[in-house]
């Protein structure tokens, strides 16, 4: 059953099917919010709020084929509200990326990644990398960050992102361009390259 068919049956009175919709979208929405906010507890709370709001307002969805843009729009708005309410919370940083830590000898994250992997008992796992990229993403302005997350991780088309964020499509592409360039510079500064990651992972 497609999302449209599921939503149609929900709007026709079978509200219990909403849970099937949740199970389908829970993981992508949670990961979107987690990348946006950088905090697990906030991500959990906001994820629940997204589905509560979607449940209450499902009848207002005009085009059932645009459910993805619609639910990401709800998620993005709630994330903005969360940041306004609680400010920008720091996520738990890795020992690996304490850039000014004396024990690390002021090494950059990329160098640390390389040196860590050369130790016989050490390993760089995907969790460390994800936290590293999370920190890099948090350096970007919010408007660029959300576009990057929607494009790179949620797989939305540019016109879907434009609809979700209620912005012109060229603005979205422009933010994507500057966001990617911003990340490129940060990763370059930290000496994190594709080669380093290929070796480690």
């Amino acid at each position: 059953m497609t999302d449209s068919e599921l939503i149609a049956s929900i709007l026709n009175g079978d509200r219990s099917r909403f849970n099937a919709l949740i199970w389908r979208w829970e993981k992508p929405i949670y990961n979107f919010i987690l990348r946006y906010l950088g905090n697990k507890e906030s991500a959990r709370d906001v994820t629940q709020k997204v589905f509560i709001r979607a449940y209450k307002n499902l009848s207002k969805l005009r085009d059932l084929d645009r459910f993805a843009s619609w639910i990401y729009q709800i998620a993005a708005n709630l994330c903005k509200d969360e940041i306004k309410k609680h400010g920008h919370r720091d996520f738990v940083s890795l020992d690996l990326i304490h850039e000014n830590c004396e024990n690390n000898g002021h090494k950059l994250p990329g160098e640390l990644l390389e040196s860590e992997s050369q130790q016989p008992d050490a390993h760089v796992n995907r969790k460390q990398l994800s936290q590293l990229l999370q920190k890099a993403l948090q350096q970007l302005p919010e408007e660029q960050r959300v576009v990057i997350i929607m494009k790179e991780y949620q797989g939305l088309k540019f016109k879907e992102i434009a609809a979700a964020l209620n912005q012109p499509i060229n603005t979205i592409k422009s933010r994507m361009y500057y966001g990617l360039n911003g990340l490129r510079k940060i990763l370059q500064q930290w000496q994190i390259t594709e080669e380093v990651l290929n070796d480690e992972l």
Binding site: E26, P28, R44, F51, F158
Partner: protein, 225 residues
């Protein structure tokens, strides 16, 4: 195509959202422009690095539980279903008619018991009212007679009550007398026992003293002068 134009299409190209013809134009420019080529490659590399960050499974599940709706809400929802074919007006009118009949019937219900038989009427067709015989009028004589009867009754009641109380008092006094007598006998018995005990102990002491004295006298008598 120049570098500025390429920049506008770069994102579409990077994420395969460019039309076929536009893509060919762009790639032709890239072949001839190392700077743009380098920029596209750098951004593609950044995208590849970002892709290494995998999704995680949430450590919770959201479950929507529909709130309990009142009976009225469920009836409303049933009536508002689009699949309902029977005209709502007809259903509503029918329901109102039945309720109205029931209310009328209940309001005029009559149940009676006469000569060992029950009779029940719903009241839809109420029977005509029967004439009720008039009550006799109370005279002064009747009132006085009733008052006198009440007085005698009250007096008798009081006398009976007094007699009962006297009887109860006599019974209680007799019982008390018996209890006191029994207690006196018990006390005398105890005193008797006590005296016997004292007597025995005294006798024993005297006998012991007597034995000691006899022994002493015998000893003195047996001493040489």
């Amino acid at each position: 195509m120049n570098c500025d134009q390429l920049r506008q299409w770069m994102m579409d190209y990077l994420y395969d959202e460019l039309a076929e013809d536009d893509r060919r134009l762009l790639e032709a420019h890239l072949m001839a422009c190392p700077a743009c080529q380098q920029q596209v490659a750098a951004l593609r590399q950044t995208s590849t690095i970002l892709q290494q960050w995998e999704d995680v499974d949430p450590d919770f599940h959201v479950v929507m539980v529909a709130p309990k709706r009142s009976y009225l809400a469920r009836v409303k929802q049933w009536f508002s279903r689009p699949a309902l074919h029977v005209p709502r007006l007809a259903l509503g009118f029918g329901a109102a008619l039945i309720v109205g009949l029931l209310v009328l019937a209940i309001a005029n219900t009559e149940i009676s018991y006469r000569s060992g038989e029950f009779s029940f009427r719903t009241g839809l067709f109420p029977r005509p009212q029967q004439s009720i015989p008039a009550e006799p009028i109370l005279t002064q004589q009747t009132i006085e007679r009733l008052q006198q009867e009440n007085y005698f009754l009250m007096t008798r009641l009081i006398q009976q009550s007094e007699a009962r109380q006297r009887q109860e008092l006599a019974t209680n006094l007799l019982k008390l007398k018996r209890d006191l007598e029994r207690q006196r006998l018990e006390d005398l018995h105890l005193v008797g026992l006590g005296l016997e005990d004292i007597e025995q102990k005294t006798v024993k002491k005297i006998e012991r003293t007597d034995r000691s004295l006899n022994e002493f006298i015998r000893l003195i008598s047996s001493q040489p002068r």
